[in-house]
Subunit: 372 residues, 4 copies
Amino acid sequence: MAPHNDSSPAGNFTNGFNGMALQSSGLSSLTVEDLTAELGSSYDSSTLDTPVSHVKRPLVPGVYVPTMCFFDKETEDVDTVTIAHHAVRLARAGVTGLATQGSNGEAVHLTHTERQVVTATTRKALNEAGFSQMPIIVGCGAQSTREAVLLCRQAWQAGGDYALVLPPSYYAPLFAPSSQTILEFFNAVADASPIPIIIYNYPGAVNGMDMSSDIIVQLAQHPNIVGVKLTCGNTGKLNRVVAGTRKLSKEYDPLNPDFLVLAGSADFSIQALAAGGHGILAGLANIAPKACIKTIELWNQGKHTEAQGMQEVVSQGDWTAIQDGVIGVKAGLEEWAGYGGYCRSPLPRPTPEQSKNWKNGFKDLIMLEKSL
Amino acid sequence: MAPHNDSSPAGNFTNGFNGMALQSSGLSSLTVEDLTAELGSSYDSSTLDTPVSHVKRPLVPGVYVPTMCFFDKETEDVDTVTIAHHAVRLARAGVTGLATQGSNGEAVHLTHTERQVVTATTRKALNEAGFSQMPIIVGCGAQSTREAVLLCRQAWQAGGDYALVLPPSYYAPLFAPSSQTILEFFNAVADASPIPIIIYNYPGAVNGMDMSSDIIVQLAQHPNIVGVKLTCGNTGKLNRVVAGTRKLSKEYDPLNPDFLVLAGSADFSIQALAAGGHGILAGLANIAPKACIKTIELWNQGKHTEAQGMQEVVSQGDWTAIQDGVIGVKAGLEEWAGYGGYCRSPLPRPTPEQSKNWKNGFKDLIMLEKSL
Amino acid sequence: MAPHNDSSPAGNFTNGFNGMALQSSGLSSLTVEDLTAELGSSYDSSTLDTPVSHVKRPLVPGVYVPTMCFFDKETEDVDTVTIAHHAVRLARAGVTGLATQGSNGEAVHLTHTERQVVTATTRKALNEAGFSQMPIIVGCGAQSTREAVLLCRQAWQAGGDYALVLPPSYYAPLFAPSSQTILEFFNAVADASPIPIIIYNYPGAVNGMDMSSDIIVQLAQHPNIVGVKLTCGNTGKLNRVVAGTRKLSKEYDPLNPDFLVLAGSADFSIQALAAGGHGILAGLANIAPKACIKTIELWNQGKHTEAQGMQEVVSQGDWTAIQDGVIGVKAGLEEWAGYGGYCRSPLPRPTPEQSKNWKNGFKDLIMLEKSL
Amino acid sequence: MAPHNDSSPAGNFTNGFNGMALQSSGLSSLTVEDLTAELGSSYDSSTLDTPVSHVKRPLVPGVYVPTMCFFDKETEDVDTVTIAHHAVRLARAGVTGLATQGSNGEAVHLTHTERQVVTATTRKALNEAGFSQMPIIVGCGAQSTREAVLLCRQAWQAGGDYALVLPPSYYAPLFAPSSQTILEFFNAVADASPIPIIIYNYPGAVNGMDMSSDIIVQLAQHPNIVGVKLTCGNTGKLNRVVAGTRKLSKEYDPLNPDFLVLAGSADFSIQALAAGGHGILAGLANIAPKACIKTIELWNQGKHTEAQGMQEVVSQGDWTAIQDGVIGVKAGLEEWAGYGGYCRSPLPRPTPEQSKNWKNGFKDLIMLEKSL
């Protein structure tokens, strides 16, 4: 990670990209009051003051949570009160960091402005609850290099510390060859982004495009590309990425690696650790953060039998989350934590029977969670 | 199409969606000068005055062109001068209508603001060249219902006459069942859109989601859903859609059908006509509009042998466009029409050898075009 | 087609392939009585005498039927009586030719020996009913070149006239490049096959592998590759293949082309004809041969309006066949023709409700069929 | 596993399936001499005597090798000498068992008769080298239930101990619902098979069909279904399968589980063990059996750091095997072990450059192998 990353990249604000970026974001001419107006009364106008000071928040091994985004059940407007409440609840449970605008955060359902409000709201809530050192990763994938850069800048403006970037895929058949275009895309975004990049390999979200360990290791050489989230579930690839990126470090510190390798689902937490991974960035932690944390702690303490027993409960609970995605996890939160609401249309709202089944699917996991 | 469609839907501006929509679009607080500033000197500030008056432009059988979007070769900023020039060139060639922000228009590479500028620029150019009656279809697909509605409103604001809508696909595995969620999405968008909807069935662009003839015919019953573009190439489906939607009309007028069925590629123009289709909305018309028009005219005049001979030239020219997409078509325009430029990053720029091959691939088609 | 193709390829029986082929087929040591024993009493021992004389049966434009394979409802053994009855019924309806062991013929559910019995039974039935000039196309795709050749030889032995060959796909990722390996496969099979090859392009059956018009046209240059069945439904490709292969002929005779281009489904019959195609090889003809034939005849007679009207009935009936495949078509035959039975396990048997729906789905088509 | 599994299932030979099965297999009327004749001089006629006595060979945790199938470089005939040599070499390296006719064994390139010869040759070679207790797993997947049963019977006849079964996929869209048909298929095959079934979950080989942990656990309840090979690489699923099947045992013995869960690739060996898996059935063991074994031994001995170090070498070596499949592994054997030859056509033969690269890709792994 570049040493000046914690300083304001104001200097960059003179380059070509940015003029466009800030303008297009619709923020250049908007005041905090405008933004407030857009989000309605639930939104505290001081939110966007927060990012003004950019402190460096390290990216260390542990449990990261791609937070859900919450909406008003009537209007489907962003529900900043619940977003703040959820962020603080996770922080108090002991997670290492949060990630806004991942698939669990319904990034594809949010406007650029809403994305900033979600991130700024999360930052502000963490700060006010005493977690000003907790890093926030922000989903910044886009089809064009310039929009990805714009999202990285907006993420930085809103208080984000790292950018989680999916490769573009809409025109994938025209990439020539695929790997070369992907390499150029990530390097260009990393060059222009004010915050470090975490590669997001999630074939299911990008028409099946699956980045190889070779490409990931090659990208890891960029000073502003500092990690990867592997949602592909391929722990053989994860093992190769760990081996390949470790060699890039002068000296490798497993407690503070130069390149962080995270599993994208909780159901392969200890499998990832066994392969040299550093933790997880997993949706299930929205519903059972302590169980996810404890499983990893036990493993790292060498208590493998206990860790394996707990991993099985986590994996079985994750099965419901995997099958029913954001809808299922929100239903689970609603049933077990009393909040959650629904996803934005056109995602369907669960039927009473589905809610009942999903509540049941999470039962053992929740029992474990409550015991911790 | 609903009779009041040509009147200003100002009344709708009080509903819940819209407050969000206009605000998020960043337009509510932006003046024409702001927009101008964003686009740079190449952009004429009078552009966005145009939409103020909304006249009804009928959707009739013929050749529609999903126009390319052009960019400055250095900055990759939107090149409104070339966009205007290209639109007028196509209009003068005799096409029936234009479509902005399709796959050929690199919609996924544009911000909401840029999309409006492209559509407004196209509308203004057509008007000034004497084609004020030519309709503009605007790509308005999105992952959330509310963003799709927002895009429809912005399209209307910018002077668009119809909205071409792809189904959402990011969370497709969570649709329950897929068809039900898709039906609800399109009906909700059609309810809220100020302009009529044209369904866009393009599996390649939405993770393989392929809408059935049953779904399309069911959606055709909505008064604000007036057509479909079938890029799937399935002419059996096209035939079923034509048969199924014709039955919805009191009296069917092939020259002015209530539901327009268009082929999504020029290489199955007469095949689509043979199946009862009404025309094409095809990228190849960017490079050879007259050949596309003449092929269809000959067929409709009953000159099938001549039409088939011309169709073969069109289909073989289309092969280059199909294989190399927007990159190939832009290279073809650059080589044969002297303008075109490049796609936005990360789409690669053609190598000299590719440009040569692609120029060659279009040669017979261009010779035909010039002879018309 | 090579001139010596109608002579017995006995000479080839000394080459390396064949020794293996005949042996592996299990036929070398089997007498007709053995084969008879395998099929049970319903099988006439004289069946395999038929192929002894190989007369040339031309491949001309028209309607070809990929016949269903029928099984005993109890034992799932091949039901040669019904196979013979069905073949003669189709021949009497006026179809141009039959194809055994396509997807409709459940080729993947048959042993090599059963495949020969099905083909031999069909040949014998046609001969005895006075259709000794009607050609039989036999599905001969396989993963290895040698098994494909073996199947071609066995098809020839059993009385087949042409071999319909799918490309191998199991190891497709290892093909290098895909097109080169595919070209070599088809050329090698064509070199060794005693009967001419018809290329079968059906992506849905081979892991999505879709052969381009370039590959098909290149393969058409082989003297023993005489046609293609396009089940991909891509009529643009069909148009390019027609245009590209016509150029290979000294003089092109549309009534007897050197390379026959067939649509793989009845729902794009006239669309294929409009693109220069020569007919269809379509499963729906199992249930409505006359409607398929009449639609094409009307079109070829220039009665396009009548043809279009009939095509719509065919396309809508085909929708049931397309959605429910062999199970649906067999259910339709059972309901409307009084025979059909079930597919081999594990294919499910229709529920009473499904049978009712499918019967209904074919109703209009059957009414049309009965009126012809 | 059913207790009578080690007895001759001769009694079953009267059932309906079998009459067909044996006949169709072409074996009923073939003597050992016939089989010998088919394979040529390299084949020892005493091979098929072996299976006469069926001793029970337990399925225990460890390293299983899906052996390559070898062919004469000229004729592409099965090379039984090399097959025997390779089997013994692996046995001497200490592997737990062998598997014939997996993807590495080019099962799809073999006739039924050849499959039996390969298995019988392997059995005989193991016996003669003093490994008569080593079990052989035989690939028996097929599209129809009856052919799968036929293959299981033939596997048993040839000396196979367990059947590795892929689900059918050709008509998958007609399965209703997919899971129900799959359950019925496996249960029917398990009911009729003389040897126990191991489920093979390899989406890449069956049009993407991926069996869920729910289905696998449900199937594990059948007394004749004793394990699963997960080539999907999903270690979360593996963890759920281990947890779900353990509950089916009265008492769970990790050294001799009732249901064996194997990883399908060597690059996730210790990840699978961490998740409770019992070992691997992995192609890479063809080239580096000792490294695969040692990695697992170290892990099971609690020497995790050493195991992780070795796993990284294995994973990186596996990358070449994964990318280049059977072609790459054969090239690696040829380069490093002096035998291997080529795959059957149409699989391409490696270019000198590819062979050089692949030799290099395996270098570190081979160095490790030789040090053990």
